[in-house]
């Protein structure tokens, strides 16, 4: 299943994902960047807690000396993971490790004569003055977590993991959701491409039509449409086939009856005219049937590798033979032998139709030219006549069944109006293409491109 470059899948996935991730991060961000960090009504509580802890430490210090108090403080630090220090009023450290970073806060508190709170990295550093039993004053400084950033400051790796999870879990959810939404669209697209390619029996996956949502309905409608289309086209093809087939019986009888008439009454111009028209009708039916079969057969025609140059040479040879008194009024040249994969009868009929068409309109002394050459990985057959050409707006339409240029003298020259249509379908079935151009100074050039055998491509 190939995705278009600016696929709906990617768009929906990225937008959903981005929305979820951005929402999550903006919430976290607002928490982190909260201006005050801690609402002021909490300050008192924080100070009270700090003071209480400070008093306990001071009591420990006064009763058990430095050693006992230090043990108590370190134990407390170990449990809470929060740093704490005890200072003399003059700023010298009594207890605690790494107390240098608290020195400023301690000094500010002493200078101001009131508790001090310092917010940094989501941690509050709180300094309080504590009175001891002998009326000594100490400054106790401790930390307290006040916001989510406290966590960031503490464990960057864990936070990174959490962020990644926060990024990818929504990503996965979005992926599944988006796939659920867009996969049926892509499969529907595949089915419609198949349908457009002429594979009318294609249906979108039936499991998709079990969905009860809008896409399920769309798939159901698509399948109904495809079935209807198939029915119509099949009906039309069958009709053409049946008509052509049924016309054969009276035509066969007419042939025999006409011949009987000739035997009995001798030759007559009227008989010749009838004979000619019978042959024309026969040819037309023949081609209609070929056309119907080509439309229906698709890929079921057996293909094998064949020498295109020989095939074209044969056709040119027999065409020259039919030109009777002017067999040199058609020329052919080929730069090398070309090999293609195809059905000899179909290709022969296609190329012959193009060449016969050229001969029919080549009312000039200049011969019809058939040229084979290589164009990239294709063999190109150019058939050029020196007739009047075709109005440029009709160049495409000459490959449609029964299409005739307005000024055409086709009926008088015996065309069925189906030759080029057959040629176009047969060539297309071989993976090639055919188109017409007006040549200068006048005449029509029909180009047939057929893919070369892989072994000959390089």
């Amino acid at each position: 299943m190939s995705l278009p470059t600016r696929s709906l899948f990617l768009k929906i996935l990225l937008w959903f994902w981005a929305t979820i991730v951005l929402t999550a991060f903006s919430i976290i961000l607002t928490l982190i960047l909260q201006p005050g960090g801690v609402p002021s009504q909490w300050h008192d509580a924080l100070i009270e807690t700090a003071r209480y802890a400070g008093e306990t430490v001071v009591q420990e210090f006064e009763h058990h000396g430095t050693q006992g108090a230090s043990d108590y403080l370190l134990e407390r630090v170990r449990i809470t993971h929060l740093q704490a220090c005890l200072f003399h009023l003059d700023g010298t450290v009594i207890l605690g490790k790494g107390c240098e970073r608290f020195a400023t806060t301690a000094r500010d508190s002493r200078m101001n004569g009131k508790p001090e709170i310092n917010l940094q990295h989501g941690l509050a550093t709180i300094a309080v003055t504590v009175r001891g039993g002998r009326d000594d004053q100490y400054i106790y400084v401790t930390e307290s977590p006040v916001g989510p950033r406290a966590a960031v400051a503490r464990n960057v790796a864990a936070v990174a993991v959490r962020c990644l999870i926060a990024l990818f879990v929504p990503g996965l959810v979005c992926y599944l959701l988006t796939r659920y939404l867009t996969a049926p669209i892509l499969r529907l697209r595949e089915a419609s491409q198949q349908l457009a390619a002429g594979n009318l029996s294609t249906r979108a996956d039936a499991r998709m039509s079990l969905r009860r949502d809008e896409l399920g309905l769309l798939v159901k409608d698509f399948n109904t449409m495809a079935a209807r289309l198939e029915g119509l086209v099949d009906g039309q093809r069958q009709l053409i086939y049946d008509i052509s087939h049924e016309l054969r019986s009276p035509l066969t009888r007419l042939n025999v009856a006409l011949d009987l008439g000739r035997e009995r009454k001798g030759s007559d111009q009227a008989f010749d005219q009838m004979q000619q028209d019978l042959e024309r009708m026969d040819q037309m039916i023949d081609r209609l049937l070929t056309l119907a079969r080509l439309d229906a057969a698709g890929a079921s025609v057996p293909l094998k590798s064949l020498n295109l140059t020989d095939l074209v040479a044969d056709i040119v040879h027999s065409a020259g033979f039919e030109l009777g008194d002017r067999p040199d009024n058609i020329t052919m040249s080929s730069s090398e032998p070309f090999f293609v994969r195809g059905n000899a009868e179909l290709l022969q009929s296609a190329i012959e139709n193009v060449i016969r068409n050229a001969i029919r309109y080549n009312n000039s002394e200049e011969p019809v030219q058939v040229v084979l050459e290589r164009v990239e990985s294709s063999a190109k057959i150019t058939v050029r006549d020196h007739g009047l050409g075709v109005p440029s707006e009709d160049l495409r339409r000459i490959f449609e069944p029964f299409y005739r240029v307005a000024t055409d003298r086709d009926r008088q020259t015996g065309g069925t109006g189906l030759g080029l249509a057959i040629a176009e379908r047969a060539i297309r079935m071989h993976g090639g293409e055919v188109y017409a151009l007006n040549a200068t100074p006048q005449g029509l050039e029909v180009h047939i491109l057929l893919p070369l055998l892989i072994s000959q491509k390089n």
Binding site: R248, S249, V256, A257, D259, E263, D282, I285, D286, S318
Partner: protein, 242 residues
């Protein structure tokens, strides 16, 4: 075509042709058209009845429409060929390659697409009958290596085992064996065996050669008839194959 002259030349014995075709009017017209050509025409419009009639062996040639209602033309052909080597010309829908090839593979001698020109049909019938009458008891026994051909009995043996062949396959083999070791072109074979010119994309002769190869192949592991690319076929005489 000088109808009068032909009529004069074929006065000795009228050739009996059985037409199996469901188109009643066409059959009537054909009977009318063929009477002056010196054929005795019998027409039957139903496959089953046609098969029964053809198996009686009263005819020299069967013209069989493959697009029959009821018992299909191919079934009639298969049954008929299982019991008889009578020449059979099949009528097929133009361009219906599958039916045509199948018909030839089952053992029809030649085919003509409908709608046909009656003169063409007469020419085909003549060609087939001419070959069939030439085969009957005209020439001597031919032996090439392990293959023995007995024109008087229209029989073929490979290493003492009899090979069932149709009269057309017999003619084909005879042509090959009388020219053993020489390349026979497809044009040449078509003219000799089918009595007509090779047409564009005409693969009738190839189907017959392929049928004959298969039949001979059952009794002989060696490939007796070899394809010569782009030209035709060759019956290999053992002395040359080594």
């Amino acid at each position: 075509m000088g109808a009068r002259g032909v009529r004069g030349a074929l006065k000795m014995r009228q050739d009996r042709v059985l037409i199996i075709d469901d188109d009643v009017e066409l059959c009537r017209l054909l009977r009318e058209r063929f009477q002056p050509e010196g054929f005795t025409i019998e027409t039957i419009h139903d496959g089953q009845a046609g098969l029964t009639r053809a198996l009686l062996g009263h005819h020299d040639l069967v013209i069989l429409d493959l697009m029959l209602p009821g018992m299909s033309g191919l079934d009639v052909l298969r049954n008929l060929r299982a019991h008889s080597s009578i020449p059979i010309l099949i009528l097929t829908a133009r361009g219906d390659d599958v039916d045509r090839i199948l018909g030839l593979e089952i053992g029809a001698d030649d085919y003509l697409p409908k709608p046909f020109n009656p003169r063409e049909l007469v020419a085909r019938i003549r060609a087939i009958l001419r070959r069939a009458s030439r085969d009957a008891g005209t020439s001597s026994v031919v032996i090439v290596d392990s293959v023995r051909l007995e024109p008087s009995a229209l029989k073929v043996w490979v290493d003492e085992a009899e090979v069932e062949v149709t009269s057309l396959e017999f003619s084909l083999l005879e042509a090959f064996m009388r020219n053993a070791g020489q390349v026979m072109t497809r044009e040449d074979l078509t003219e000799r065996v089918l009595g007509r010119k090779l047409g564009p994309f005409d693969r009738v002769i190839d189907v017959h050669v392929s049928n004959l190869r298969k039949k001979l192949g059952r009794y002989n592991s060696e490939e007796l008839i070899k394809a010569v690319r782009g030209t035709g076929y060759l019956f290999v005489a053992r002395s040359e194959s080594k």
